[in-house]
């Protein structure tokens, strides 16, 4: 093979790769690109998507669509908190999809066993009465745009349900404000302890 032919072959491969990468540009979410774009997120949401700051949500293993939708809501200022509106305003929708894909692929936060067994059982009962699993999944693992609650920070869980109850956090379609309106603080705390205990 002459040098010219080798160089033509290389050009051919390069061209083929260019076509491939172009056909993917701006389309499918890219978890690898998301990892790079999510570097700043770790300050609050933790390395590996498990936050060590109380009150900040773990993002690891959240369904992709749920992170994407929350980012859209922050960008549009329909959800507020933690300075996320300003951060989301700097992201393109492709950035959001990539970041969501990155966090969705991470290992779920480890369950937290703390709290009395009695409280966990009580939390489970309340969650059953409220049909949480019909949207959040049998193990509260989340699905589609519905967030994972299993292993979630209990401080975050409590603050969000309270905000949904008071209307301080507007939910997507009223389902959560409807569900939260009759809950007592004690019931919310019991469910938070139950949710964080799930793998």
């Amino acid at each position: 093979m002459t040098l010219t032919r080798i160089s033509k072959a290389i050009q051919g491969v390069a061209f083929f790769l260019t076509v491939l990468s172009c056909s993917h540009a701006g389309a499918a979410p890219d978890a690898l690109a998301g990892k790079v774009k999510a570097q700043a997120c770790a300050a609050c949401h933790g390395e590996g998507g498990v936050s060590s700051l109380p009150g900040f949500p773990h993002l690891a293993a959240q369904p992709q669509l749920s992170i994407f939708y929350q980012l859209l809501q922050f960008r549009d200022q329909r959800r507020k908190g933690g300075g996320m509106e300003a951060i989301a305003a700097t992201l393109s929708e492709q950035d959001m999809r990539d970041i969501a894909a990155y966090y969705a692929a991470l290992q779920a936060p480890a369950p937290v066993a703390g709290g009395s067994a009695e409280k966990i059982t009580h939390g489970q009962q309340i969650a059953q009465q409220q049909y949480c699993s019909s949207c959040h999944g049998a193990q509260l693992q989340g699905q589609k745009h519905v967030p994972r609650l299993a292993g979630q920070s209990s401080e975050y869980f409590v603050s969000q349900l309270r905000n949904l109850r008071s209307g301080a956090r507007a939910d997507m379609d009223g389902t959560m404000s409807s569900a939260a309106r009759s809950l007592t603080d004690e019931e919310i705390e019991a469910m938070a302890v139950y949710a964080r205990s799930l793998p």
Binding site: D76, S134, D171
Partner: protein, 350 residues
């Protein structure tokens, strides 16, 4: 929350009866829901999530989508009168005057009425101008799945556009997200979404007809005209309440409805009711996700209900959800889809 790109919208999956044709009419409108069309032909489209209102216009033979309002709070309801677009947000009614001449630079809206409840649950509105043009009809849904609601809620109301007095039209209506006036009798007909968590088969969403003042359709005590509530029905009777004209199906989420007033479809479709079934969210096996056709006899009794458009769902996977229907001047029908962010057109030719 976003719209599917045209290449990802599987229009060919939508099935219609023989002789009918489905085409993608407009796209790129995240969460496109309630529709109203002006005499000049502009179609306005409201949304529930993104806070946008869209206008679809035909220009030089091409269809163009413009976002004419952003940042509104659940602007689901749209109506049009004398050059003005009325938008129902969650807790207020606003108006854009001389809108069609200013689609690229819409005026600031005028607040028409804002003394409305602010509950998020079932707070977004379907809105319809009365045939005489004097009233805006809309619903105030119940603030929860099932509760003994304040008298202000679970009602259909009408706003007098001259006096701004709000009157209750019907009570005991859990949440109606679709209504229309019968083209002959001018009576109000509406769809009503039933409560959750009884079981997969009960209760049914309903089609209802307002024939008198002060009718009460039973919520929260009685559902679908004949089912006492498992929590609040004790000591009550369904005989206390007015009955629906049709049980549409459990959990189907019957939303937008219109009488067919066009001439393009075959004669047996005249004054039929078309209903967009948005589809169930918490039924074990998903149901709805179609447009159904309801035929009536001369007295307004239901004689037939059948699926008219289907194909938004394959197994348990849906790619779109029909939200509203609209009859165009040429007799074809538009169906909005708030997941695909698109509008389909259904036409008939022999």
């Amino acid at each position: 929350m976003t719209a599917l790109p045209v290449s990802d919208i599987p229009t060919d999956k939508l099935k219609v009866p023989a002789g009918f044709k489905v085409e993608l009419w407009a796209s790129g409108m995240p969460n496109a829901r309630s529709m109203v069309q002006t005499p000049q032909g502009t179609l306005f489209v409201g949304t529930r999530f993104p806070g946008n209102v869209y206008a679809v216009v035909e220009k030089d033979g091409k269809r163009e989508v413009k976002t004419i309002a952003k940042g509104l709070h659940r602007p689901n309801g749209v109506a049009f009168k004398d050059g003005s677009l009325f938008v129902a947000e969650l807790s207020r009614i606003i108006r854009y005057d001389n809108i069609e001449a200013n689609l690229d630079n819409p005026p600031a809206p005028v607040v028409v009425f804002d003394a409305l409840p602010k509950d998020e649950a079932h707070g977004w509105k379907f809105m319809k101008l009365s045939p005489d043009g004097n009233y805006l009809y809309f619903q105030i849904g119940t603030p929860a799945n099932i509760t003994v609601q304040p008298v202000t809620h679970a009602v259909i109301v009408r706003l007098n556009l001259k006096t701004h007095i709000l009157e209750t039209v019907a009570q005991g209506v859990r949440n109606s997200v679709g209504m229309d006036f019968h083209p002959v009798t001018q009576e109000l007909w509406f769809t009503n979404n039933a409560r959750d968590w009884v079981n997969d088969e009960l209760p049914n969403d309903t089609l209802n007809r307002v024939t008198a003042k002060r009718m009460n359709f039973g919520y929260p005590f009685c559902h679908q005209g004949d089912l006492l509530d498992i929590d609040f029905g004790k000591g009550r009777s369904c005989d206390e309440f007015d009955k629906p004209v049709l049980k549409i199906g459990p959990h189907v989420a019957a939303l937008g409805m219109r009488f067919y007033t066009g001439k393009q479809f075959p004669a047996q479709y005249t004054h039929n009711i078309f209903i967009a079934e948005h589809g169930s969210w918490n039924r074990t096996k998903k149901s709805g996700f179609d447009v159904v056709r309801v035929a009536l006899d001369a007295k307004g009794n239901v004689t037939k209900k059948e699926v008219f458009v289907s194909g938004w769902i394959q197994g348990d996977d849906f790619w779109g959800r029909p939200a509203d229907v609209h009859v165009m001047k040429d007799g074809s029908m538009l169906v909005s889809d708030d997941v695909a962010g698109a509008i389909f057109r259904i036409s008939y030719s022999k």
